[in-house]
Symmetry: C2
Subunit: 266 residues, 2 copies
């Protein structure tokens, strides 16, 4: 059916997930909401992140979407139960897909997880990994400066390297063979993280695996788009559309970022 | 009179201003509001910062305050006209006091200004400085990573130093003799900024001068507290009171941080 796939994030980071969804499902219509007026979520309490997630979902659900993707690790880590309680449509977060992918690729069952303060405190990745394989060893680390570094565009200078070295020290010591990039901003720091940890550590981001889950759910629920109309991609933000377009290009790589409208949701 | 002085900031930074107010006016009652659910303001649009400022003022004005201090550079830079239009009470921002102090201390009339992206884009400091002395030379620089560095507690390591070096390069080249720390978080980076610019550059923060203006306005309007009841200091935040208490201690230095309540203002 022609209804759109709804996607929300606290800001621009979720565009990395949207990009994979568009790659794998080029015919589907999408509606993206970035809550740029209240970004970032990762430093805020669970209660507040849950409230923001519900308000974002309310906006998207008013657009009559067929499936909701929570393309934000922090909102996925704490908001999914409340969202699934309230809305009667398939809801996909990024934590489970990321955890599943890490389990697939780890050779020595030693997985590291990095994310925002709220994501790491929630233990969502640890619970998800141990739920799939109780024997997995998990080491977690919050990296609060990674998002501001990416937003500043400092992804490959000495400051980015020293910051990565400091945050990743314990994970290197713990000898993990796989690292989950548990925040949609972090793939932009892949090079510098690779330099610190070495090439032998596999870096996992949730975007591709999440997109694969979207396909699976749409197919099994018979919700894939059937018409041949060309795909429409709409974008909404709660603040500063121009800035979103400017910064979003680095995340979306290729897909054109137009039709960005400002909306008030709170 | 016994009504309180109202103070708001986007988060904890405004506590540096509150501390000076309490130092200089130990008998006065104060009510502080930190908008921790929507922090930071410095990366958001003027429209959104104005809306948040009006909502913060609305909350404090419902507590029947006698004077309002906007203890946030970003909100002062863009929100004062709208606040003064709406509320019939004295309103003091931090930009004018900071600019006045810089004019007082500069020897060669070469002043640097650092602040958030929004504060620098607003040109509020440049306008204020030139309004007092049109011959002053001003060089401005946004420093988006300074707030996250302070929030992370990284105020004196190699990363803080390299970041300061990068941001302050143009100011050093411009040979300023005075630097306005145009964000309430920045005084916590004084050491590292001093190391980069050298001891001969005077660092100006608005807190003391703003507190002096509060005294002046209360006295001239005959609003100073007359009773001998001991001072009451109330604190409200829009998210995560525990975190506010934990981080606030570094800003408030001495004054006890208790009676922190969570409120919903939007």
């Amino acid at each position: 059916m022609d209804k759109a796939i709804g996607v929300f994030d606290s800001g621009i980071g979720g565009l990395t997930v949207l990009k994979e969804i568009i790659n794998i499902l080029p015919k589907e219509n999408t509606i993206y909401l970035g809550d740029t007026a209240r970004v970032p979520y990762g430093i805020k309490s669970s209660d507040t992140v849950i409230r923001y997630s519900l308000e974002n979902a309310e906006f998207l659900s008013s657009k009559d979407i067929k499936l909701l993707v929570v393309a934000c690790n922090t909102a996925s880590a704490v908001g999914l139960p409340a969202l699934r309680d309230k809305y009667n449509l398939p809801i996909i977060g990024v934590i489970e897909p990321g955890a599943r992918k890490a389990i697939k690729v780890t050779k020595r069952k030693r997985v590291g997880v990095i994310g925002t303060e709220r994501t790491i405190k929630s233990s969502a990745y640890v619970n998800s990994l141990k739920g799939i394989d109780p024997k997995i060893a998990v080491v977690s680390q919050a990296c609060p400066l990674f998002v501001p570094l990416v937003e500043e565009g400092w992804t490959d200078n000495d400051i980015a390297f020293l910051t990565a070295k400091r945050y990743l020290h314990a994970l290197k010591e713990a000898n993990v063979d796989t690292l989950i990039l548990g925040c949609t901003h972090y793939p932009l720091l892949k090079d510098v993280i690779g330099k610190v940890l070495g090439d032998e550590v596999l870096l996992v981001d949730s975007a591709e695996e999440t997109a694969a889950e979207v396909v699976g759910v749409l197919r099994s629920s018979n919700l894939l788009k059937t018409s041949n109309k060309s795909a429409v991609h709409e974008f909404y933000v709660t603040d500063a559309p121009e800035k979103f377009v400017e910064a979003g290009i680095r995340f979306l790589q290729g897909t054109e970022l137009k039709n960005v409208k400002k909306v008030s949701i709170a």
